[in-house]
Symmetry: C2
Subunit: 176 residues, 2 copies
Amino acid sequence: MDSTTLFDISYGVYVVSSKKGKKYNGQIANAVIQVTSDPPKILVCLSKNNLTHKYIQQSKLFSVSILEKETPFKFIGIFGFRSGRDLDKFKEISHKTTDRGTPYVTENTLGYLECELTETLDVGTHTIFVGKLVEAEKLKQGEPLTYAIYHEVKKGKTPKNAPTYVKPKKTETKEK
Amino acid sequence: MDSTTLFDISYGVYVVSSKKGKKYNGQIANAVIQVTSDPPKILVCLSKNNLTHKYIQQSKLFSVSILEKETPFKFIGIFGFRSGRDLDKFKEISHKTTDRGTPYVTENTLGYLECELTETLDVGTHTIFVGKLVEAEKLKQGEPLTYAIYHEVKKGKTPKNAPTYVKPKKTETKEK
């Protein structure tokens, strides 16, 4: 079995956000797709370890901010490699909230989608959240950031909790 | 609500295939993602109207053939706009079967993934099938076909049963 075949699956790069009361959190996600058109429903797949996962379970609301091709590394670092348990990710990032109070990112963002949770599926280490589209707005024209650009052009890494994480090859040296 | 925001979600283009005994069928799908890495699991989202949907429910097996950028329109037409109820789609298409008997396409294909069904989620008009990766092979080097290339460069259309289908705007003339 050649697991590198998985690398040819195409993805975009997004910030999936949710809230707990007035607390906001968001995280980078690549596993985001539309699953029905009538009504429009969006699927996101998040690690059970992540704070955004917990917030979606509680608030039943999530947003997807679609990142633009030019999104800088530093921005991705904040949402992709830091935990909302340690810092307020939205503190220094331009954002707004929807009428329902869901936060979404407004910088480096082509547009956002807001969804009300309709279905949930446990797939092991991750949960699939499906939500009905309740708000959608385009913020700017441009090309979306793809996972291929992030990896090949920007030489970006994949965080451990991503569905597409690949374990580094084992060496003879045992960890102590 | 501006539904055109949905157009900035990124996808690849795939042939999802399954079988019923010795009968094979496959269809174009864009809603294909990896959802976990330990173990690797793949998600596909298919319309309940489609024959491949029925075959996956019965055989509990499916394959994903990852199409290359150069895939011609005619090929996509066979798998995307025709029903396996009317023709044997694999008749004139190069294909092989896995050890488990699942068909996969070998022309215009960068590689294929074979999955055993582990979870199913009903999301309305479509079903989400999640399967554990049991086979994966790279067939050639190249760039994958993306939905953006299919639409913008190739001016391809979206079939009615796709999760990303957009209804043509209503006119005053009623259909009879």
